[in-house]
């Protein structure tokens, strides 16, 4: 039954943020793949199709908006729900993220880590497994 474990791709460049996030997600029984910049994320997506993507926007090499565009234009990944987790809090950024096809937009500093993870877990349970 281990292969039915849901998989999440976390795209986050800040170690200090990805560490607690990954620890908490894994403790809830999902498997996590971490990418530290935009290009690494796209490379990962060539080999795996996760059940959900958590996407930071301010990223080295390729910013989050570009990554999101790529994800949503690529037929093999466009169905994967993307949740933006960013500290860009302006309404323009939020509108842009949603118009590009993000399922949800969270401003990190306004979220408790537990609430964020609970939301992710509840959402992922609704998704059919693709792995």
């Amino acid at each position: 039954m281990a292969n039915t474990k849901k998989q999440i791709l976390v795209i986050e460049d800040e170690n200090a943020l990805s560490t607690p996030l990954v620890i908490l997600l894994e403790s809830k029984g999902v498997s996590v793949v971490l990418a530290k910049d935009g290009e690494e994320a796209l490379a990962t997506l060539k080999n795996t199709t996760p059940d959900m993507i958590l996407l930071d926007l301010v990223l080295p090499r390729l910013n989050g908006f570009k990554v999101l565009e790529e994800i949503k234009t690529n037929p093999s990944t466009k169905h994967v729900p993307v949740i933006i987790i960013s500290n860009l809090g302006s309404s323009e950024d939020m509108k842009r993220g949603e118009s590009l096809g993000a399922k949800h937009y969270f401003v990190k500093s306004r979220m408790m880590l537990n609430d964020l993870v609970d939301y992710v877990i509840s959402e992922i349970k609704k998704e059919k497994s693709h792995t």
């Binding site: 620890i23 403790s27 500290n87 990190k108 500093s109 408790m112």
Partner: protein, 691 residues
């Protein structure tokens, strides 16, 4: 037949006289103008005496004057060709020798029978008897003519631009006049005893007048095109008015009598004068002076442009420049706007065929206006001046004819570069006056638009600042928040808890540094940072080592090798260790951030003597992303980050170099860099006085 010859002669002489007076009046202090007027005076005297002989009969004194005036004409032409086009000193000895020769040949015919001893006038020509010294005179005349023409043609080949064209017409006119005249009045009579055509000799001067007038109008010869223009306008005006007055008076006189026949045409002329004048001005301008613009129209349009584009500097400059290009019909013009404090060009508006301009603070034009507060740079008036050879070289390179400063409150805020006229004509005094006038008008508009522009920029910087700051502060805050949340949740082992605590602590530190940088930058910008560096004698090695240890973690993460080279012994010297540590930290962190993983960073320190002062010079070389030409001017600006740098490391304020430079300068040192461009690495230096 005699009547025809006399009429032709008479008209030729009157036209010559007019030209001579114009040239003389325009600049009676210029040697060129004086010699040309003397030349024309010679023609008029020579032709006038021939006219008198033909009209009133033989007279020995008159024919002697004919020869004297001819000598005056010939020697003046030779001297003129020697002096033209330079304003100033000809080769003095030769000039005076020739002038002396001229005086001799002017006087000789008047001293009895030496040159001419008898005269008889046939119907249409004059025959003279030659005196004993006539052969000398016969040599003197061709000597002057051939000499003058050779000098003109030599100068033609060695000069450029307007003088070259002027020389062409002078040579043409001189040849067409003097060569036939030598045949009719010298060679044919003295060698072949044919006298029949000497009455016509002076009439050939028509060619000279024509060529010179053309050169005056088209190529600005001797600067009298304005007078010629006015002369033409008023001449035509006078002719038309006389014609209207006479014919109207005649016509009305047939029906009524006396005073009414005068009154009606007078009324007509009184009210019709101004419209008629305007009409003639436009018509003569469009026929003879096709390149003429109307000053009032230009000022009108400029005012409209100022009114419509007063808040947008680019639009204003674009339209202003276009107005000048179109109305003065020039090939190109460019406006350069300089920043008020320095000499850097902040904006370039280029119109016409010129594509691009490169301008540096030590550009010869800028240096020129630093020394010469008034006036313009005029290519023609500078030419040949050794002192300004750099400027002339630059003018030639750009094919630029005029540089007009744009001044506001006594300071030069811009330059208007003016290219060649499409007609190849020279710029007249009128043109330059107009350009100076519009430059003055536009300065006011430029100032206003620039202020508005600056306000907008400040506003944009502020918005950018807020968005950058909010993001940069939220990230470490979130990190502290999330890491602590997990630790407090309690479901983790001790090792993980330690790691998470470290994360939180680092984030708190990052945030403190970011806040420090921000406030330092704000203080600097608002001039509040008045605190002097707290200088204490410190070993620079200890400061650098401290930074290397602090950033060891980051260095390891990027697997970068650091090589440090102590090129000379630097004993401890007074500086503020906190400030300088920050400087080293900032340049070192940049080198680590922007170098490829696994590469090498090279630090060196040495002591140098610069201008009898002793300095410690620190240098750090990386093989990273480098700095592009475009980025170079902004790299020390507050909140500025290069595109490539942002891509590599999106989290940053763009304050590190701004602050580092400020701290170094507070110590009386300098911070600078060298980079060959994108991905070619960079070398940053800073110097600190050690005494």
């Amino acid at each position: 037949m005699l009547f025809v010859i006399l009429s032709i002669l008479g008209i030729a002489l009157l036209v010559n006289l007019g030209l001579g007076i114009f040239v003389f009046l325009k600049n009676r202090h210029s040697l060129v103008n004086i010699l040309f007027s003397l030349f024309v005076l010679g023609i008029v005297g020579w032709g006038g005496t021939i006219f008198a002989l033909l009209g009133f009969g033989a007279d020995l004194l008159t024919v002697r004057l004919t020869f004297s005036f001819a000598a005056l004409m010939l020697i003046s032409f030779l001297l003129f060709s020697l002096v033209f086009p330079e304003k100033g000193n000809p080769k003095k000895l030769i000039f005076y020798l020739l002038a002396f020769l001229g005086v001799i040949f002017f006087t000789l015919p008047l001293l009895g029978d030496l040159i001419v001893n008898s005269v008889s006038v046939e119907k249409t020509f004059i025959a003279v008897g030659f005196g004993s010294l006539y052969p000398l005179y016969g040599l003197f005349a061709p000597f002057c003519i051939i000499g003058a023409l050779i000098i003109l043609i030599k100068k033609y080949f060695s000069s450029a631009h307007a003088p070259r064209l002027q020389l062409k017409y002078l040579f043409l006119g001189g040849t067409l006049f003097l060569v036939p005249a030598v045949f009719t009045n010298l060679l044919l009579p003295s060698l072949f005893n044919i006298w029949d055509f000497n009455g016509l000799g002076p009439a050939f001067s028509f060619f000279m007048v024509l060529a010179t007038s053309y050169a005056i109008v088209r190529h600005h010869l001797m600067d009298i095109s304005v007078i010629i223009r006015l002369g033409t306008i008023y001449g035509v005006l006078f002719a038309i008015i006389s014609f209207i007055f006479v014919s109207l008076a005649g016509f009305v006189g047939q029906f009524t009598s006396g005073w009414f026949a005068i009154l009606l045409p007078s009324l007509f002329i009184t009210f019709g004068f101004m419209p008629l004048k305007t009409f003639i001005e436009t018509t003569t301008d469009s026929i003879f002076f096709r390149k003429k613009y109307r000053v009032a129209d230009i000022i009108d349009t400029l005012n409209k442009i100022i009114h419509e584009h007063s808040l947008n500097l680019d639009d204003f400059l674009e339209n202003f420049n276009k107005l000048i290009i179109d109305s003065m019909r020039i090939q190109w013009a460019a406006i350069l706007i300089l920043i008020p404090k320095g000499d850097f060009v902040t904006r370039q508006i280029i119109g016409g065929k010129l594509q691009s301009l490169e301008f540096k603070p030590d550009h010869p034009f800028i240096l020129y206006f630093k020394e010469n507060k008034n006036g313009v740079i005029d290519r023609e008036s500078l030419r040949g001046d050794q002192k300004h050879s750099e400027i002339i070289k630059e003018l030639d390179r750009l094919d630029c004819f005029l540089v007009v400063p744009i001044e506001s409150k006594g300071k030069i805020i811009g330059l208007h570069l003016i290219g060649k006229k499409k007609s190849q004509d020279q710029f007249s005094k009128e043109d330059i006056d107009l350009l100076e006038l519009v430059a003055g008008e536009s300065a006011f508009a430029i100032d206003n638009a620039r202020l508005f522009d600056e306000l907008q920029k400040i506003d944009q910087t502020k918005s950018k600042f807020i968005s950058v700051v909010s993001h940069q502060l939220r990230t470490p805050l979130t990190s502290i928040h999330w890491n602590l949340e997990l630790i407090l949740g309690g479901d983790i082992d001790k090792k993980t808890a330690t790691e998470l605590s470290k994360n939180a602590r680092e984030s708190a530190f990052t945030m403190a540094t970011a806040l420090d940088d921000m406030f330092t930058a704000l203080d600097i910008d608002e001039g509040r940072k008045k605190t002097e560096p707290k200088k204490i004698p410190t070993d620079i090695k200890s400061t650098i080592d401290h930074v290397l240890i602090e950033l060891e973690e980051e260095r390891k993460k990027r697997n970068i090798t650091v090589k440090t080279e102590w090129r000379s012994v630097v004993p401890p010297f007074p500086y503020d260790p906190t400030m300088i540590e920050k400087v080293v930290q900032n340049v070192f962190r940049n080198a680590l951030l922007y170098s490829p993983a696994g590469s090498e960073v090279h630090i060196s320190v040495e002591k140098k003597e610069i201008n009898e002062m002793s300095y410690m010079v620190f240098s750090i070389i990386d093989s990273g992303i480098g700095i592009t030409e475009e980025e170079k001017k902004d790299i020390f600006s507050r909140f500025y980050r290069g595109e490539h740098a942002k891509g590599l490391s999106p989290n940053g304020f763009g304050l590190s170099l701004f602050i580092a430079k400020y701290f170094v300068e507070q110590h009386g040192g300098e911070l600078w860099f060298i980079s060959q461009g994108k991905n070619k690495g960079a070398e940053f230096f800073f110097s600190l006085p050690t005494s």
